[in-house]
Symmetry: C2
Subunit: 438 residues, 2 copies
C-alpha cells in the first residue's frame, strides 16, 4: 500500500496516552489520516509514499492547538500597548474595530494570522470574532483546522448593528459552516457574562446545545469583571454562569483567572474546560489563572494566545515557555507545571478542551494527520537530552520546518503553499495605513 | 570618504538619549566605528561604501546586551528541568560540571552560545565561568563583544582544584586578556556571598579595584540564600555585601530578587548596577526582582538570560517580552515596564550596567559599530504601528537578519561568517553523548 505522505528521520513525540516517544521513527499518512507510526528498523526500507518528507533528525510531533484567538485582530498588532485596560479598549481597540472591521479586513486579518500560526506550528485554533464567515473562508483557504464562533454581544458590533440579531446571526453561521469543509467546525462564541444579558447567555447556550456545538465564553478574566458580577449578581462569575445553566461539558471557559476554590470545584464537577492565556493575562495585568489547582481538580486545560492586540503574537512556543515559568514563580515551586504537562496543554489537552480529542492533538493511527516537524539543527536546540524540554523551554516558532494539516502539506521548508503570503502582507499593510490615519 | 559599511532602507532605532527613531535611515560605518546616522532624503544618492547592506524595510538597531551568562553551560541545556534547586544543582549540574568541564568543552560550549547569541541579535555579553581563558578565546574567534570573569568560589572548581588559588587565577585572567582584543574586557566574577568567604570577597573586590574592572556577583537570588545570610550575618545579602565594602559603582549585582526597601536605597546610593534575569528566576522559582522599584530609585538595570541550563536559551527577545509581562501582572498594572523601558534594559542600560555605555548599546556617532537588522517582512511582524512594540512583544531571535560587531559583519542573512557552525554542533553533540552516559 502506497501512502500519501511518509515522514521519516526524526524523533516522534506521539502525545498518546502512554506518552510514547519513538526514536528514528517513521510516520505514514493515507489521505487525511495517520496510517502508521513506528520505529524504522536500521535495515528496513522506507515505506512507499507519494511524497517523502525528511525530518533531518528533528522532532515530529502533533500540530499545536491554540484554544483562544481573535484572528482578525492581527490588524491591530502593536497599535496600543502598556495602557490600562479601559484606555486600551475604549480609546484604541473599540474605535479601531468600529472604523476598520469589515468583511474584507476580517478575511485578510484572518489570513495573516493563519499564516503566522501555521509557520509557528499551530494547526488548530479556536476563534471568536465578527464577520466570522470571512474567518471561516480564510481558514479554509489557508488550510488550517479551526473551531469558529460568530460573536454574540449585547452591543452593536461589526456586521451586527442590532444586538437583538446576535444569537440568530451566530446560529446562521453554524448552519452555513456545518458541512462545508472538514477543517471547519462551527461553535457559539458568547463574549462574556458582563457584556451579555442572562437572556442572551441562555438563548446562546440553548442554541449551542440544540446544534451540539462548543460554547465558548470569556469568564472571570479581570478583577473589574469579578467586581461587576459581584455587584450585580452577588456571586462570582463562575457561580453566576453555573446558576443560569451555562457551564457543562461543552463549555470552554476562557481565561478563568478570578476563581475561588468553589468555582474550581464547579468547573471540575460540570466537566467544563478552560482556555489558559498566560501572556495576554500578564500583558493586560488581569492576573494569574490558578492552573495547577484546576489541573489537580481534573479540569481539562488548553493553552491559548488570545488576540494579537494583547500578546502580541500567536506563537504557542513562547506561550508554553511562559506558562511553565509563570506558574513556577507564582507557586515558588520549580516542579510545578513541568514540560510534559505544558506540552499536553498545547496539544492533546487543548484538543480535548475543544472536543476535538478524537480528531487531532496527538499522533495516533486513525486520527487526522495534523503533524509538524521541528528543525533541531540550530545552536539553541543543541545538544538534545530531552526533546520535550527543548519544545517548551528552548524552541521558537521559527524552528518549525514543515506542517501537515488534514493530510495536506501546508508548509514546506518554512514556505506556505496554499496562499500568496506576499499578497496578504501587501493588502494588510494597506489597511494599516488607513488605521494609522485615525 | 568611502565608508567600510553602509546600511540603508530601514527604520533606525538609535537608543540615544533622545530616543530618536529615523524612518528610511542610513547608517555608515568607518572601520570599527559609527560614522553617520541620518535620514536618507528621497532624491539623495546612497553614501559610498565598500559593503552595502539593504535592511529591506526592516529595523536597524543596536546589538542587544546580555548582562549575565554562563556560556559553556549550553552543554547542559535541557539536561535537567522542573526540579527543586538543590536536586537540580547537586544531582545534575555540579556532577556534570565535575565530569565534563575541561578547556576544550568550555571552548566549544562558549562557541555554541556565541553562535546562538549572535544569531538572535546579541552582540555583547557578560559572562562568568571557569576556564574563562577558553571562553575569551571562543568569543574572540566568533567575533562577539564580551566582558568576562574567571569564576571565584571557595570550593574546588573546574580548573581550580585548590580554592585558595581562586582570586589569583582570576587576576591572571585579567592580566592575560587586558589588551589582546578590542572585543574582550576582563572582569572579576565572584560567585556569591554564600559561596565565598568575607576574606575572599574582599580580596576579589580589591583586585577588581586595583585593575579598574567590573566586579560581578550573584546576590540576593534565592530565599535560601537570604535565610543563610540572615542566619550567619544577621542582615540581608545586600547589607552584608555593603558592610564589607563590595557594593560600589563598579559592582554588578546579578539577580537582586530578595531586596527590601533599604537594600534598594543602598544599591541606588552606591550607584551599583543590577542584572535582571526574569526567565531564570521564574524557571528556578527564585522569585520576582523588584525592578520597577529599582528603576524608580534610579538604579541602572540590564537584562540577562543566565546560563542555558536554567532558561533554556540565550534569546534576549524572549527575555524582553517576559520581563515586560511579568512585572505588569506582578504589579497588577499594565502600564508598568513599558516597551521602551524594557528595550533600554536590553541595550543602552545593559551597556551602562557593565560600564560599556560609551562603547556600545546605542547607535551614536563615534561609538563602536555593534548593529543588528531585524527582518520585519514576516506575518508575525505585520503591520507595524510601533517598531519598539514589535521588538519587545512580537519578534523572536530568528527575525535577526544581519549582525555587525565592532565594524565587522558577523552574521549575513542568518549565516555566521567567522566560524564553522556545523563543526561546532558536531563536536558539542559528541560531548553530549558522553554526558548522557553518566
Amino acid at each position: 500500500m502506497k501512502h500519501s505522505i511518509v515522514i521519516h528521520n526524526g524523533t516522534i513525540i506521539t502525545m498518546n496516552s502512554d506518552f510514547d516517544i519513538i526514536n528514528n521513527g517513521v510516520l505514514c499518512i493515507k489521505n487525511d489520516k495517520l496510517a502508521k507510526i513506528e520505529p524504522l528498523k536500521s535495515d528496513a526500507p522506507l515505506p512507499e509514499g507519494e511524497k517523502i518528507i525528511d525530518a533531518r533528525g528533528g522532532i515530529i510531533m502533533p500540530g499545536l492547538v491554540n484554544t483562544h484567538t481573535h484572528l482578525p485582530m492581527a490588524l491591530f498588532r502593536g497599535l496600543a500597548d502598556d495602557l490600562t485596560l479601559s484606555v486600551w479598549l475604549n480609546e484604541y481597540i473599540f474605535p479601531a474595530e468600529a472604523n476598520h472591521i469589515h468583511p474584507e479586513s476580517v478575511r485578510l486579518g484572518a489570513l495573516l494570522s493563519g499564516a503566522e500560526m501555521l509557520l509557528s506550528g499551530t494547526t488548530t485554533c479556536c476563534d471568536g470574532y465578527f464577520y466570522e464567515d470571512n474567518v471561516a473562508a480564510a481558514m479554509n483557504e489557508i488550510g488550517m483546522r479551526a473551531i469558529l464562533g460568530q460573536g454574540v454581544i449585547d452591543f452593536p458590533a461589526p456586521g451586527v448593528p442590532k444586538p437583538e440579531d446576535n444569537v440568530n446571526n451566530a446560529i446562521k453561521f453554524i448552519q452555513n459552516w456545518g458541512n462545508i469543509s472538514p477543517l471547519i467546525t462551527p461553535s457559539i462564541f458568547c463574549h462574556s457574562p458582563y457584556t451579555c444579558s442572562e437572556a442572551t447567555l441562555k438563548k446562546a447556550k440553548d442554541a449551542a446545545d440544540a446544534k451540539g456545538v462548543l460554547f465558548q465564553i470569556h469568564a472571570a478574566e479581570t478583577k473589574d469583571e469579578y467586581v461587576s458580577i459581584q455587584t450585580k449578581h452577588h456571586t462570582t462569575p463562575v457561580k453566576y454562569l453555573d446558576k443560569i445553566g451555562i457551564i457543562d461539558q461543552n463549555t470552554l471557559l476562557i481565561h478563568a483567572v478570578w476563581l475561588d476554590d468553589d468555582d474550581i470545584e464547579i468547573i471540575a464537577k460540570r466537566r467544563a474546560s478552560v482556555s489558559h492565556n498566560p501572556e495576554s493575562n500578564m500583558k493586560l495585568a488581569s492576573g494569574i489563572a490558578p492552573v495547577p489547582a484546576l489541573l489537580k481538580a481534573g479540569v481539562t486545560v488548553g493553552l491559548g494566545t488570545d488576540g494579537c492586540a494583547s500578546n502580541n503574537n500567536l506563537d504557542l512556543f513562547s506561550e508554553m515557555d511562559t506558562a511553565a515559568k509563570l506558574h513556577k514563580v507564582n507557586a515558588m515551586d520549580p516542579t510545578v507545571m513541568d514540560a510534559v504537562t505544558v506540552l499536553k496543554m498545547a496539544t492533546i489537552e487543548g484538543a480535548r478542551s475543544l472536543g476535538l480529542q478524537d480528531i487531532t492533538g496527538s499522533l495516533e493511527i486513525g486520527k487526522k494527520a495534523d503533524v509538524i516537524i521541528i528543525d533541531t539543527h540550530k545552536p539553541h536546540l543543541v545538544p538534545i537530552y530531552n526533546p520535550v524540554s527543548h519544545i517548551v523551554y528552548a524552541a521558537q516558532g521559527a524552528d518549525v520546518q514543515d506542517v501537515v494539516v488534514d493530510g495536506r502539506i501546508i508548509v514546506k521548508d518554512r514556505k506556505l503553499l496554499a496562499v500568496d503570503l506576499e499578497d496578504i502582507i501587501k493588502k494588510v499593510v494597506k489597511i494599516s495605513e488607513t488605521i494609522k490615519k485615525h
